[in-house]
């Protein structure tokens, strides 16, 4: 488990090295320390940190003072400086203070065993000598510290806070983590229009945790589900705020619109949210932050459509692609995906036909298509746009209609719609696999529900909640016994192709907050009106 966090830690050290432009020159300049000396008598207890240690903890992990003001550290005489998060001690010395090394430069362990051992060469650190080391870069016995160890502009009071925390680093628990239980929150609509769906998701989360708890929990911690009612909305902002007030450790399968104060608070408190529900597919990958999406973005669906189209030989005289999409960030993301994939594959730049959300004029769009004679149409929307496009009389009845791609969630499954879809040669782009393995995953979800006496309803919602719980539990296992929120985020970032059951396999990364970059395609058979797979899961590169 150790290796899961090392890479992340190394980055800060690396950033400092490259800020100095010294990476190469420094090779081998600082020796790697030996293993820590035998532990001295530790402080009475680190289970509950003193107010001073809590302030020091914030500097150590977040590079911020209690006031929220970022700390600053200068790197030698180079004039380069690190601020805030980049200046956090944990970035170089490790989240548990056990040190890291990169490119031949080692940030030594700062654990109590290391700093405060009585038999330490040069003597144990005191509040006084620690202050000199951190502020002036001089270790006991007047040894000048390596330039990569920043010289911090900190008042003595802050340095004393750090000192208090360093007596506990690596032994302290996250204030919201107890050895016995972990509180995990979900904002779900339990009253109002969506109450049945909310209750369905809640029951799945509760059952998933019950199963883990029956096997002893995660590192002996019982998983406790705390649900806040988002009432008549799928927005969840107010309910999320209440959960944050209750100090839940993380959120899972929680409804989320990504807006407002709750989003800001989630980010500021660094509370991870795994598998948001209710907001549909993400527009695109936010690239950072604490919200981890399990479904591909709209941009990815467009990419997969274009990649599929490009794999077929172009008919002679084929025109560009026409992208019909709502104006606004979600439609723009779809367009962007189509454009970059077309560029990637040497196709002509797609033409955009935007419409005001909720005011789709199918006849005008069909007109535009008739004029342009596109090779294919990619249609995005949030409601009945596809039905209206399919129902609109085709002005080019004499010519074969261009290929048509649309996200599968736009498709209505009544016989009339399916007949029109077959005639239009519609290809549906799915955010999940549609293969045999997926069918089996859904079957095993049914038997899971049955085992836990959860009635199957709102199955898509239930499947998403189940996958969210699975991903969170996996990441908690990988994050290790010494659990912190940054540790959980790092563990999520290390997931590679994790199969949570229903839905796509999940891969996150340092700048990857969307777990799936792919989609699958189905078409409607003109003879039977059956929807059947056209293409297996297609991965694309962002």
């Amino acid at each position: 488990m150790g290796h899961l966090v090392t890479k992340r830690r190394r980055r800060a050290l690396a950033a400092a090295l490259s800020a100095l432009g010294l990476a190469a020159a420094l090779k081998g300049a600082a020796a790697v320390r030996d293993a820590p000396a035998p532990a001295p008598a530790g402080p009475a207890s680190c289970a509950e940190l003193s107010p001073a240690a809590l302030r020091g903890r914030r500097i150590f992990h977040h590079g911020a003072l209690a006031s929220g003001e970022p700390v600053e550290g200068r790197l030698g005489a180079s004039g380069a400086a690190l601020h805030g998060k980049a200046a956090a001690c944990a970035g170089c010395h490790g989240r548990s203070g056990d040190g890291t090394s990169e490119g031949g430069v080692a940030a030594p362990p700062l654990t109590p065993e290391q700093l405060f051992a009585a038999d330490r060469a040069g003597g144990a650190y005191t509040a006084e000598t620690l202050a000199i080391a951190v502020r002036d870069g001089r270790a006991p016995a007047a040894r000048e510290l390596h330039l990569v160890m920043p010289r911090y502009r900190l008042d003595r009071a802050h340095l004393d806070d750090l000192h208090a925390y360093l007596r506990c680093v690596g032994r302290d628990a996250d204030p919201d983590v107890s050895p016995e239980a972990l509180r995990l929150g979900a904002a779900l609509p339990l009253t109002g229009r969506f109450a049945a769906a909310g209750a369905a998701a809640r029951d799945v989360l509760a059952a998933a945790f019950a199963e883990v708890n029956a096997q002893g929990g995660v590192f002996r911690r019982r998983l406790e589900l705390v649900v806040a009612d988002s009432e008549d909305t799928l927005d969840g902002a107010a309910a999320t705020s209440r959960l944050l007030d209750q100090r839940v450790f993380a959120l899972v399968g929680s409804v989320w619109s990504g807006d407002g104060d709750a989003a800001a608070r989630l980010a500021a408190d660094e509370v991870p949210l795994v598998g948001p529900l209710g907001s549909g597919l993400p527009a695109s990958d936010p690239g950072d932050g604490v919200v981890f999406h399990l479904q591909p973005g709209l941009d990815t669906l467009a990419r997969v459509a274009v990649a599929h189209l490009a794999a077929a030989p172009a008919p002679t005289g084929a025109g560009a692609l026409l992208v019909v999409h709502p104006a606004g960030p979600r439609g723009d993301a779809f367009l962007r995906g189509a454009r970059s994939e077309a560029l990637r594959r040497g196709l002509p730049a797609p033409v955009s036909f935007p419409f005001e959300p909720g005011r789709f004029d199918a006849a005008a769009a069909a007109d535009a298509a008739a004029r342009l004679r596109p090779r294919a149409v990619l249609l995005a929307g949030e409601g009945d746009e596809l039905s209206r496009w399919l129902a609109a009389p085709s002005p080019s009845a004499t010519r074969p209609r261009p290929a048509l791609y649309a996200p599968a969630f736009l498709m209505r499954r009544d016989p009339g719609s399916l007949r029109l879809a077959a005639a239009a040669r519609l290809l549906l782009v799915h955010a999940s696999p549609t293969d045999e393995a997926e069918r089996l995953d859904l079957l095993s979800l049914s038997s899971f529900l049955e085992r836990h006496r959860v009635p199957p309803r709102h199955t898509a919602f239930q499947a998403s909640a189940y996958a969210a719980a699975r991903v969170l539990v996996e990441a908690l296992k990988r994050a290790g016994a010494h659990l912190t929120r940054p540790g959980l985020v790092a563990a999520l970032e290390e997931l590679r192709g994790f199969d949570p059951g229903p839905g796509p396999a999940i891969t996150f990364g340092r700048n990857r907050r969307v777990g799936a970059y792919g989609a699958s395609l189905t078409g409607v058979d003109p003879a039977s009106n059956d929807v059947s797979p056209v293409s297996a899961w297609v991965e694309v590169v962002p």
Binding site: A14, G103, Y517, E539, P542
Partner: protein, 203 residues
């Protein structure tokens, strides 16, 4: 032809991870010739390397054999952009090779840097990385879906489980003649160019 492909596979497999870049041994000045077939066989090479799709730093799709290897001499190197130890030194070294090659870089001799960390090294990230080394058209930084990259790395013997274990190997090949040899990416640029020029010489 079959024999040549097998020989190549075995030879490339030899190019497996050196321990850590920092602990690099002194570069071997006379790199071993590790394989090849005197009469280059395009079909065999195509079948061996495959046309697996990679994406370059400009976001363009490239077929591995047809677009990147065929008909050229190539320098192939493995990297991941978050590696800040000796990795930038290697890329900087290749930047000097690129300069020494001058106009030949590209059509005649291609430099290919393949990421071993495709999840984090998106084309955008590679573009920024490439810009740091003033990489020109003849130097492609390549990523892809994790499966594609794994397939290509497997063919080249650069397969690593974790990015940290990446290899500092530099493969030099003449795809037309099927001659390949390996050295380290920290080799003197002049020596690298000499190896490129004399790769087909009889020992």
């Amino acid at each position: 032809m079959r024999r040549a492909a097998l020989l190549l596979a075995a030879a490339l497999a030899l190019a497996l991870p050196c321990a850590s870049p920092a602990a690099e041994p002194v570069p071997d000045r006379t790199p071993a010739r590790i394989g090849g077939s005197p009469a280059g066989d395009d079909a065999a090479a195509a079948a061996y390397f495959t046309d697996t799709e990679l994406i370059d730093q400009d976001g363009r799709a490239r077929r591995f054999y047809t677009d990147l290897l065929r008909g050229r001499k190539v320098l192939i190197h493995f990297a991941f952009t978050s590696c800040k130890g000796a990795c930038p030194t290697m890329a900087a070294n290749l930047a000097r090779v690129q300069a020494l090659l001058g106009k030949r870089a590209g059509k005649e001799v291609a430099i290919l840097t393949i990421t071993v960390d495709p999840v984090n090294d998106t084309p955008k990230v590679l573009k920024r990385f490439a810009a740091k080394f003033s990489a020109g058209d003849g130097w492609r930084f390549l990523t892809g879906t994790p499966d594609s990259v794994e397939k290509v790395l497997g063919r080249l013997g650069g397969l690593t489980k974790k990015p940290d274990e990446h290899t500092s190997t530099l493969l030099i090949g003449d795809v037309t003649t099927g001659m390949w040899l390996k050295t380290v990416a920290t080799e003197r640029p002049e020596t690298i160019v000499q190896l490129v020029d004399h790769i087909n010489d009889k020992p």
